[in-house]
């Protein structure tokens, strides 16, 4: 169990995280927050790239700094910006990191091959990475994080730069990984985590605003979200009196999801989604 105990992080006078208390058990955690809420800093603290100003982070009761190398052996990390050597092929790059992760040299080739298959890069395994698209690089990044079969997998904005089909593939990979390991992925795109995460953590104003299962979060919104279709000329007036969650245009009509304000007779109650909750929460 990974446990964040009353952690505060300051850079100079600027507070980035304040009194964070979280517990991670095996499963997928989606860390949702608007940009600048301290997501990346929390990720850095969990990967020992930075240290709490106050409080501590413990894995199975032992402070992770004290564990030092033993903690790094449990860790797989994909940073927001995946660094790589453009002249290397994925095989070279992964073998290099496998060496740094202290893996048994005999096991490395098979492991690398297996991971490249998992992320669907087997056909370009000997191509130089400078020719790769952003999405392909990101997939190499995911493979690299999995090299040492980590007990704690931390992915910072893993879907950035992926196209829709790659996103789907990514979600499937994650869903298959969560057995016996803690997967923490941060994102500001709700749909990335909606279907795979067992728990959602909302960060707001440098604090944990909410930690719950996705269904529980949707439940709190039940009966508060409605759908309505209006002629598009009426949209500005409607927007003034209601909180509009999403808009879909069709000819001269707009289909709206909204919450708050008085409910017109034509409005139909809608099934709330995590996205709705996110929008309400962070506006």
């Amino acid at each position: 169990m990974l446990k964040v105990c009353d952690v505060t992080k300051r850079y100079g006078k600027f507070t980035v995280l304040e009194h964070i208390d979280l517990e991670f058990t095996p499963g997928v955690y989606g860390l949702l927050a608007p940009n600048g809420a301290g997501k990346t800093t929390l990720m850095k603290l969990l990967t020992t790239l930075a240290f709490p100003t106050e409080g501590e982070i413990r894995y199975d009761g032992v402070e992770i700094r004290t564990m030092n190398a033993a903690y790094r052996e449990l860790l797989g990390y994909l940073p927001q910006q995946m660094g790589y050597y453009p002249n290397q092929s994925p095989i070279q790059f992964l073998s290099y990191l496998a060496a740094l992760k202290g893996m048994d040299r005999k096991l490395v080739p098979d492991r690398v091959e297996g991971l490249l298959e998992l992320v669907g890069l087997l056909d370009v395994k000997r191509k130089k990475m400078r020719t790769f698209s952003g999405g392909m690089i990101q997939r190499v990044g995911i493979a690299q994080a999995l090299l040492n079969d980590p007990k704690i997998l931390i992915l910072d904005e893993p879907t950035a730069g992926l196209d829709p089909s790659e996103r789907v593939r990514f979600r499937n990979i994650i869903a298959g990984l969560s057995k016996d390991r803690i997967v923490i992925l941060s994102t500001h795109i709700v749909s990335d985590v909606e279907s795979v995460a067992n728990r959602i953590v909302f960060l707001k104003d440098h604090q944990v605003a909410l930690e719950a299962a996705p269904e529980e979060i949707c439940l709190t919104m039940r009966g508060k979200v409605f759908e309505i279709s209006l002629p598009d000329t009426e949209l500005p007036r409607f927007e003034q009196s209601h909180r509009v969650l999403s808009i879909r245009q069709e000819h001269n009509w707009v289909h709206l999801r909204f919450t708050d304000g008085d409910i017109p007779a034509e409005a139909v109650p809608a099934e709330p989604t995590l996205e709705d909750a996110f929008l309400v929460f962070f506006r």
Partner: protein, 248 residues
């Protein structure tokens, strides 16, 4: 509630088991660190991504060395000038290699990933520092010998003079990585060192030369040894230190 203890035998077995599983290791020293690292990682992996840096440093130092040698050829006070030149410029190769590779590692985009591996970027840097220092000694030593062979100058004093400033500098370098985060201090000190030596030898050439010549070779050797010991000691501390990204 009364505590029921296991039998002494069980306790004994449990204690054995604990110590077995804990896989206790020696605190790394210089030699064990270098040995384990090269055995587990291999030299090729350790120097991945630094070949360009090595090439650039070699080229720059080579250029300075050739210019220096050409300049000395027609000089009147050959020995004196050679001493000054070696005293002032011998740390340059070390500085170039070290600063460039450190900078490349820390600013590199793969730095965060490397800092979360079992062998972190800091381990890599530590290993490279040692190789770089050794390499630098070899290069500077060879250059001093080359000057002595080429221009017919006494080799040993030249070697001692150049090595002492190199040792001094490598010590400063390791101290910097140990205590300060940025490499700016080293850059500053090197600039002052080179500049100060050049100006000094220009303004008061006699005093300066005599100072370098007056000290007997044995004293230089002694100073060199002392500095080398201090370097190894500092290096040992650096190797043992638990390493994290913050405060590198």
């Amino acid at each position: 509630m009364s505590v029921i203890y296991p039998s002494d035998k069980q306790i004994q077995a449990s204690v054995q088991n604990i110590c077995e599983k804990a896989s206790l290791t020696r605190r790394p020293n210089l030699i064990s660190f270098l040995r384990d690292m090269s055995r587990n990682l291999g030299l090729r992996q350790i120097f991945t991504g630094t070949w360009d840096v090595i090439l650039i440093s070699c080229m720059l130092f080579g250029l300075a060395a050739v210019i220096g040698a050409l300049d000395l050829r027609h000089s009147v006070h050959q020995l004196q000038k050679a001493s000054v030149f070696l005293f002032a410029f011998s740390p340059v190769f070390l500085f170039l290699l070290f600063s460039l590779s450190l900078w490349k590692e820390v600013e590199g985009t793969s730095y965060p990933i490397k800092m979360t591996c079992l062998y972190t970027a800091r381990h890599l840097i530590a290993f490279r520092v040692f190789c770089i220092t050794c390499c630098s000694f070899a290069v500077v030593g060879l250059y001093a010998l080359f000057l002595s062979a080429f221009l017919g100058l006494p080799g040993l004093p030249l070697l001692c003079v150049s090595l002492s400033s190199l040792f001094l500098y490598s010590l400063l370098q390791i101290q910097t990585v140990l205590s300060v985060r940025s490499n700016l201090t080293v850059c500053g000190v090197l600039a002052v060192w080179v500049f100060g030596n050049c100006v000094g030898s220009q303004l008061w050439p006699e005093i300066y030369w005599e100072l370098l010549q007056a000290v007997p070779a044995a004293a230089w050797v002694l100073v060199d040894l002392l500095l080398a010991l201090m370097f190894c000691n500092r290096y040992g501390i650096y190797v043992r230190r638990v390493c994290y990204a913050e405060g590198l």
